[in-house]
C-alpha cells in the first residue's frame, strides 16, 4: 500500500524583482521554510548562504538588474528532500567550464566563488539552461542528513 506521507509536499513560489532586496527576501523565505522543516542552525546558515549566492547570480549576472525580468524562486519540501529552485531570464553562462576558485592561479581573484560555495553548502546542485532564455539552479538538501 502506498504511504501518502511520502508524496506530501509543500511548495512556495514567488516571482521576484531583479533587485538586491529580492536576494534578502528569498533568503528569508528559504531559511524560514528550512527552519519549519527541522534543519538545525548550522544547516540553516548553509541553506541561507547558498540561496543568497544563487539569487545574486540571478539578479546581478543573469537578469543584470533589468526591471523587466523576474527571478522565479520556489521552495519545495517533501519527506525526503528540501528543494530550492532559482531561475533567471538572462543570457546564461558556461556552467560546464567554470574556473576552479581553489586553483592557485585563481585564489586571489575577487569573484568566481558563488557556484563553488553553493555546491559546498548543499547536498546537490543541478544547473540547466532554459529556453529561450535563462538558467535554473536547483539546490537540494536531504531531509535528516547532516
Amino acid at each position: 500500500m502506498r504511504d501518502p506521507s511520502r508524496h506530501e509536499s509543500e511548495t512556495v513560489e514567488r516571482f521576484l524583482d531583479s533587485t538586491l532586496e529580492s536576494v534578502d527576501n528569498a533568503e528569508e523565505i528559504a531559511v524560514g521554510a528550512a527552519k519549519k522543516a527541522g534543519f538545525d542552525e548550522d544547516e540553516l546558515l548553509k541553506i541561507g548562504m547558498a540561496v543568497r549566492e544563487c539569487m545574486v547570480n540571478a539578479v546581478v549576472h543573469g537578469n543584470r538588474y533589468n526591471t523587466n525580468k523576474k527571478v522565479r524562486f520556489s521552495v519545495v519540501k517533501n519527506s525526503q528532500r528540501f528543494i530550492i529552485r532559482v531561475a533567471d531570464e538572462g543570457e546564461g553562462f558556461d556552467y560546464e567550464h567554470l574556473p576552479d576558485p581553489l586553483a592557485p592561479d585563481n585564489l586571489l581573484r575577487s569573484s568566481g566563488r558563488g557556484i563553488f560555495l553553493i555546491r559546498s553548502f548543499m547536498d546537490e546542485l543541478e544547473i540547466r539552461r532554459l529556453e529561450p532564455l535563462g538558467i535554473e539552479l536547483t539546490l537540494i538538501k536531504y531531509m535528516g542528513a547532516k
Binding site: L20, L107, L108, R109, S111, R113
Partner: protein, 114 residues
C-alpha cells in the same frame, strides 16, 4: 544590520573594526571604499578586526581578497584579526585562510607588522 566600519590608529597600524554583514551592495562597497581611502592616504599597515562580522558572502570574500591585493600592490600589508567561526570556515573552504595573515590577539597582530 548592514556593515559598520570604524577606524582607529594604534601606533602606525590602522585598525578597522568591522561589524555587521559584508554582503553584495552596501556592505562590500563600504569595505572597498574604506580600504581604498586608506591606501590613497599611504597607510601601509592595515588590520581588519572582523570580530563583530555576523555574515559574509562570496562578494564580501571577494572584497577581502581585493583589499589584500590592493594593499600589497601599494607596498603595504593587510592582516585579519578575530575571525568568527563563520568567517573562518568560509576562508578555509575557499583555501584563503592560509593566504591571509590571521591573528586572534590584537596586541600580537600589531607587533607582527613591525
Amino acid at each position: 544590520m548592514s556593515v559598520k566600519l570604524s577606524t582607529r590608529q594604534v601606533g602606525d597600524v590602522s585598525v578597522v573594526d568591522v561589524a555587521g554583514r559584508i554582503t553584495l551592495g552596501e556592505g562590500s562597497s563600504a569595505l572597498r571604499d574604506a580600504l581604498r581611502d586608506m591606501v590613497s592616504k599611504n597607510q601601509k599597515k592595515i588590520l581588519l578586526n572582523l570580530g563583530e562580522v555576523s555574515y559574509i558572502d562570496s562578494s564580501g570574500i571577494g572584497e577581502l581578497v581585493s583589499g589584500f591585493t590592493t594593499v600589497a600592490n601599494s607596498g603595504g600589508q593587510l592582516k585579519l584579526l578575530n575571525l568568527t567561526k563563520r568567517v573562518k570556515d568560509l576562508l578555509q573552504i575557499t583555501k584563503l585562510y592560509t593566504v591571509f595573515d590571521v591573528h586572534e590577539d590584537e596586541a600580537g597582530a600589531i607587533r607582527s607588522f613591525a
